[in-house]
């Protein structure tokens, strides 16, 4: 397989407003969205705050992807990680994994990537931050919801349920 293309973007823009690359040489594309969930252990949260040392975060994410590609080869991986305040129901990260044909283990890249800590990306737990007291009394865990949709020319779109840990600690 050709050298995989990797794009990484850390942005304050809502992910839904960003176009992701499409590639004419890839017939199997999987999109994974990590979404801020509104409840954790019975407590409500309003959202989460992410910030980043941007150049370092983008480099770290790319390094993580390159390491994963040794295990899970594919044609391209595109990652957008949003920073700033992200309300419940909105995506904090999207991972697009594209291959010429097979979908085999494509989800593994998204799963491993989102489970690996990127230290230059900082998630503020609202209940620990006095400066963000508007969020006090809400819980402070990011949940990861797997809304994956796998596409192949032969079978069309197929829902793919992925179970993800929140993060390594």
């Amino acid at each position: 397989m050709m050298n995989p293309e990797i794009t990484v973007c850390v942005t304050t823009a809502p992910i839904s407003s960003l176009p992701l690359p499409s590639r004419s040489d890839c017939g199997a594309v999987l999109d994974f969205f990590g979404v801020v969930r509104g409840e954790e252990k019975g407590e409500q949260i309003a959202g989460l705050e992410y910030e980043a040392y941007q150049p370092m975060a983008e480099r770290q994410i790319e390094q993580i992807i390159r390491a994963l590609l040794d295990q899970f080869p594919c044609r391209a991986v595109d990652v957008v990680h949003r920073i700033g305040f992200i309300a419940v129901g909105e995506s904090s990260i999207v991972v697009r994994v594209a291959s010429p044909r097979t979908m085999i283990r494509q989800d593994s890249i998204a799963r491993q990537l989102t489970a690996t800590r990127c230290v230059a990306l900082m998630r503020t737990d609202p209940c620990e931050s006095s400066a963000r007291s508007r969020l006090v009394s809400v819980n402070c865990h990011r949940s990861v919801t797997a809304n994956a949709l796998a596409f192949s020319p032969a079978r069309g779109f197929q829902p793919a349920q992925i179970t993800l840990p929140c993060r390594k600690s």
Partner: protein, 79 residues
Amino acid sequence: MNVLFFAQIRDFTGCGSVEIETHDGVTADAVWIGLEQQFRGIEKFRGTTRLARNGVFASADERFVQSDEIALIPPVSGG
């Protein structure tokens, strides 16, 4: 040099970055001393904070120059 703050350290300092004057070749000790002079009490974060120099984690014996960009990466991190 320009020093960047994030998360709880930014909350502590009340700003996202600061310029500190140092000599070329200084160690992390001098960086923290310079920061302590401007933000009394910031030293308490030292034990759990890693310094990155120009986007790369600095080693324990790293030497810094005035043109460096230093980021203080706090313990609560990981996207």
